[in-house]
Assembly symmetry: C2
Homo-oligomer: 499 residues x 2
């Protein structure tokens, strides 16, 4: 019996996915386990496995099979496994085969050089060292865009790599709404005076933090059968195979805030964990976009992990584990401290509210760069002017300004918006879940999170990458992406602080 075209496509996709999973493990191991001297050999193995995955996917045979399968796709229900696999594969194939492999190679090299220049530029707070690399990367990104489309869609095409089918105009509108609300809100908060969170910093034994984190994760749905939790300087989540979800976090001896980073990574992990397992070894088998991924990390970090009922459940345990440090701190004071809003220079240290403005600032600047309205040389000044306008802060040096993030230096332009889009979508989805589940406060106060997790799994996670991000949001919530619920949530939450 010969295999059908769809079976042959599946076989090829499975092979590509197996290679991608091997690359995922090579990377995880490099960041978590590998002895440092293994770096050179690892870089080579990773390059080979990634290149083979790319070669096997962009092979003409895949194009021929996709042509043969037009009939099957059109005659199948759009929601069926077959139609979905063909549709998603076609979209990825068309995108991947448009770009000459020399440009891919040149961009990878420029990004590697850019990142290493950025390291030193940041250390020395000297933007001029990064400048030529950024200029080259911008040029390469423009050449990338030219492989596809008319020049008015430049930014959109970069964004599309991270948030497929999301339109720049739509993002602009969402961010305009956010900005309209946030700039005055932040000014109000500045005037209202600060919240004390000094007790979150001090001596906190990392081993005790780990035990507490595992207690939270286990209540959320973590088990040693399917998950790992390791420690790295920069927390991340990755999944080198179905049934194998790996979180990392960074328990620091001098503060207790990495509990939130751990819950954040759980959100990424549980999205991957919940994808329909019959999608395994196809392009459907992962979360659909960075924005939707971020919506789930923010759900578990902020909507759950910074909520009052969560801390009603968990604060007594934290207080008991760290009696010396927190014995005198009441639940309300702790709750307010972990929700403190405070304008600051650094994105990754930012709170739930100001974080979005950090993103909007980057979104505006990178559009200027891409569209040629802003020269790389003028980037530091433009950065500093906006920091003053939005946050009321003066940037003391470029290390704490335009050089703080690695994204642009690594060629990732169009990536930042996904962070704030995630915040926006998180509340849309959350509101919809509450409509079905009713108020969750009592359940959270008892440490019960299964109802929320199962709702998210069966409505969102299970879809994987079958639909586009916008279709996914619409399928789950009944409406397009919309900033209003998020703005409402922030206002309600911040009312006590600005009152």
């Amino acid at each position: 019996m010969t295999a059908s075209p769809f079976e042959r496509l599946q076989e090829r996709l499975a092979e590509v996915d197996d290679l991608a999973k091997a690359a995922t493990l090579l990377l995880w191991d490099q960041r978590v386990m590998m002895p440092p001297a293994g770096a050179l050999a690892r870089a080579e193995a990773l390059a080979t496995v990634s290149r083979l995955a790319q070669d096997r996917f962009t092979d003409d045979e895949v194009g021929r099979l996709l042509e043969e399968l037009r009939g099957l796709e059109e005659s199948s229900d759009e929601d069926s496994f077959e139609a979905s696999v063909i549709r998603v594969t076609r979209r990825q194939y068309e995108k991947a085969t448009r770009v000459p492999s020399e440009l891919v190679g040149e961009t990878r090299r420029a990004a590697a050089l850019g990142l290493s220049a950025w390291n030193q530029a940041k250390e020395q707070s000297d933007f001029s060292q990064l400048r030529p690399h950024l200029e080259e990367l911008l040029e390469l990104r423009r050449r990338y865009v030219e492989c596809f489309a008319p020049p008015d869609q430049t930014y959109h095409l970069l964004l599309d790599d991270y948030e497929p089918h999301m339109k720049t105009a739509e993002v602009r509108q969402i961010f305009a709404e956010l900005k309209h609300e946030l700039v005055p809100l932040i000014a109000e908060i500045r005037e209202a005076g600060d919240v004390d969170d000094s007790f979150l910093h001090g001596a906190f034994d990392p081993a005790v933090q780990r035990a507490l984190a595992l207690e939270i994760l286990t209540a959320f749905g973590y088990s040693a059968e399917e998950w790992r939790l390791d420690e790295t300087p920069h927390p991340f989540m990755t999944s080198p195979g179905t049934g194998d979800i790996r979180l990392t976090t960074n328990f620091r001896a001098h503060d207790i805030t990495s509990l939130f980073a751990t819950m954040h990574e759980f959100g990424h992990g549980v999205y991957e964990w919940g994808v329909d397992r019959s999608f395994a070894r196809t392009p459907l088998a992962s979360g659909v976009s960075l924005g939707l991924h971020e919506s789930q990390s923010r759900t578990w970090e902020n909507l759950v992990g910074r909520s009052r009922p969560f801390w009603r459940w968990f604060y007594p345990r934290v207080q008991k584990a760290f009696a010396a440090q927190l014995g005198d701190v009441g639940e309300e004071a702790f709750y307010r401290a972990v929700n403190r809003v405070h304008p600051s220079l650094i994105r990754i240290d930012a709170d739930e509210v100001t974080y979005n403005l950090h993103i909007i600032l980057r979104f505006e600047l990178e559009q200027g760069l891409i569209e040629g309205r802003l020269a790389v040389a003028d980037l530091p000044d433009a950065w500093n002017a906006r920091m003053n306008e939005y946050f009321g802060l003066d940037v003391p040096d470029d290390a704490r300004g335009v050089l703080q993030d690695m994204h642009w230096a690594g060629g990732s332009l169009g990536y930042f918006p996904t962070y704030a889009l995630g915040n926006v979508m998180s509340v849309q989805i959350w509101r919809r879940a509450l409509e079905d589940l009713g108020d969750l406060d009592e359940r959270f106060e008892r440490g019960e999170f299964a109802d929320l997790r199962e709702w998210l799994r069966s409505h969102l996670y299970v879809l994987g990458a079958k639909l586009t991000p916008q279709e996914t949001v619409e399928r789950v919530t009944g409406s397009r992406i919309d900033a209003k619920p998020y703005v409402g949530y922030l206002r309600e939450k911040l009312a006590p602080q600005v009152a």
Copy 2:
């Protein structure tokens, strides 16, 4: 500039090696880190990566390049990098392309089924469950051999997979010598009465054992820059890349003997560590055979790790760390206990001396099976008869007899001899090192092992797989493989116990 045929060969070999390294990491992770539920996805990723490595290596292009390179090989010094890469690649290519991929596939499946039948057969001590699988595997191994050569070389061809170029006749002669010495020696030891080693068993904190093991390994040459030490039920060593050597061991709470397993794995690791790094990503870049590998694990475990001067250095530390358990035990009593010779049923628990007879017994039986002189049905009786003849022991059940090892059930016939050949070669190489270095006792007593390690590195490890195993032994020692030094070593060491 177009690449030369040799450069093209190197590029292909590098790609194959990168894939092999990825597979190595997938396996290491599976045994050491992976959450259990990841098993199915991992099996698929591993199968794909291994198959691609095989496909890329057996590709016709490699054959064409090897043909083109005959001239270069013949005109280059045999010892040169180019000639060595071509020679070793040709040998592996010719072997790999002779066997139809259906036979490879059938054998893999039969081995997987054999191993799972063995698990249950051993648990229930019921040989009949394994019997049909062994019969099928024997048939498949015969078909494998038929791909190559006249039937009188059957066993040799299987052995050749593990110990390239080693002749069965030569192994027979070496083992005959060993057996001639060992059978009476073991009888003498039985009569001489037993040595007390009861104090090696008791409560030993695994964390303290780990600290002691790392102290030993560090003195041997281990560093966190290039090595890892993890824990698994069955200790092993693997290297997923140059500069990345991974040992595992099993610190048990009820005895202290896994210090020896740790030194054993170090010996495997330091061999890989010491291979000429300019061989990276070629078939030269690993230890040359299982036998020579075992010679080095045995060197560090037995010739170093069970020696008097080693324990003169290290016993005071062990005694201090475990004062409650070993406070009353003198250095000489400890030394004798860790060198106790005692005939027993189980190979993996056997001491330095009787271990070889366990191997000889298996070597004799597997030759019988392969050559059709012994039916699978008669294997248990043949096993038990030899256990009685060689060790004076009655086998109470097949679980502790013919079913104890997994090798045959997994299709590994011709593998066992490498263990005893390793012992034999270890002493040949050791004697040669002492000729250059002089007596090492005083250095060991001070915890100094660098001279030995550097001698082994620069004479043996550095060669990698450039020469055949026999050529390697001759290059290092000046003579062919020879049992006499090993027999002499055992006699000398055991003199006190049989006196």
